[in-house]
């Protein structure tokens, strides 16, 4: 399964970025092979508005089946849902740690946004 994790840096030891739309990077990890790739989100990071929506669209485009992040707002959630991407929130620590928690099934998917838009 390909899961996209929001990260403050481009490797597995980077801290998880708790923000979805304005995360610095998305790390796309294949949970079967362990392979990963870093995807820059700088364009949405600096967007005046609609960052969550556009980030969600980018997530769908890179082929992620799930998102692992700190928080997701309503518009980003609606877009991810339309793209059939499962949303897992509450991730913390490094990307590696978050991924382990995720693999162990300790970060269940959510069925709605867990924060309002513009929460941070």
């Amino acid at each position: 399964m390909k899961v996209a994790i929001t990260a403050q840096g481009s490797n597995l030891d980077s801290p998880v970025d708790p923000r979805f739309g304005r995360a610095r990077y998305f790390l796309l990890c294949d949970t079967e092979t362990g392979q990963f790739s870093a995807h820059d989100n700088v364009q949405n990071l600096n967007a005046p508005q609609g960052a969550g929506i556009q980030a969600a669209q980018a997530i769908v485009k890179i082929g992620a089946e799930a998102v692992l992040t700190g928080n997701v707002g309503p518009k980003a959630f609606a877009t991810l849902q339309a793209g059939n991407v499962a949303v897992h929130v509450g991730a913390a620590g490094t990307v590696r740690q978050a991924l382990e928690e995720f693999r162990a099934g300790r970060v269940p998917p959510v069925t709605k946004a867990n924060v309002e838009g513009h929460w941070s």
Partner: protein
């Protein structure tokens, strides 16, 4: 002649000046229209007490996708400067609250799958206040974007010799929509560090828009002299100074026009009208 009244800072006296200016000019027998462009909190009516003769809804245009025609090519999403469209899988989602009604998505859609529908965002109230023509826009609560409502107010303006546009505070899109196309911009300020700070922003805005502008200092005998120093250095004309007077605040609190309640304010407004008469050098 169209005169826009803006300030940068809120609470400097835009509406006090705009309503008094409109009333004094109309009492001189000129055909005057007062437009309340502060659509998020229009309160010029409290002072002018217009008789509203008709109301009209204000709409903004938002795109709607026809799923039967849409091929999810993503061009509309790429074209949208406001991030309001997402193309994911077999769906094209439009977030209308982010839409600025620019129509770009319609232009780029190769399938003609997008059309625009009108969404109500507020209402126009049109009437008269004595000899004055009165128009105000009222934006619905919860609506994020006021420029389309301000545009509607300006479009609904009746022809007049003198049009006074009471603009919102700030220096961003709503003010720019309000002041755009005016013949003269009056920047109302107060002689405080706050007034000066925001006056500088408003001056930058006026210069960026290449508008002819001048300054009106309200509560002129309070605070400090920095506003005058700034205007002198920047070669900005101070068109009027309105003294600080408890009588103005008392009239305001009763919903009375400053120019009617306080004779020396009427005098200053008269002087201002003389200073900005067509052909005068500002």
């Amino acid at each position: 002649m169209k005169i826009a009244i803006a300030s940068g800072k809120g609470g400097t006296g835009k509406t006090t000046l705009a309503t008094s200016l409109a009333r004094v000019a109309a009492s001189d027998g000129r055909a005057v229209a007062y437009l309340d462009c502060d659509v998020e909190e229009p309160n010029g009516h409290l002072f002018l007490k217009p008789e509203i003769l008709r109301e009209e809804p204000i709409h903004k245009l938002i795109p709607v996708v026809n799923p039967a025609r849409c091929t999810h090519c993503g061009l509309c999403s790429q074209a949208c400067r406001f991030g309001a469209i997402a193309c994911v899988g077999e769906q094209t989602l439009i977030f209308s609250e982010l839409c600025h009604s620019c129509g770009g998505c319609l232009l780029v859609c190769p399938e003609e799958a997008i059309r625009e529908v009108a969404k109500p965002i507020g209402r126009l109230r049109i009437g008269t206040a004595g000899p004055l023509q009165f128009v105000e826009g009222v934006l619905n609560v919860g609506e994020a974007m006021s420029p389309p409502a301000i545009h509607a107010v300006k479009t609904a303006a009746p022809a007049a010799e003198l049009t006074i546009l009471d603009c919102p505070p700030g220096t961003s899109c709503p003010v720019i929509e309000g002041v755009r196309g005016c013949d003269l911009l009056l920047l109302v300020t107060e002689p405080t560090p706050f007034g000066l700070h925001d006056l500088k922003l408003a001056v930058e805005m006026a210069r960026a828009l290449r508008l002819k502008f001048g300054v009106v200092v309200n509560r002129a005998d309070s605070g400090d002299r920095q506003v005058w120093d700034f205007c002198r250095r920047q070669r900005i004309t101070i068109l009027a100074e309105i003294p600080d007077d408890r009588a103005v605040a008392e009239a305001y609190s009763r919903g009375e026009l400053a120019a009617e309640a306080v004779p020396h304010v009427a005098e200053r407004i008269g002087g201002l009208l003389e200073a900005i008469r067509p052909g005068a050098h500002v």
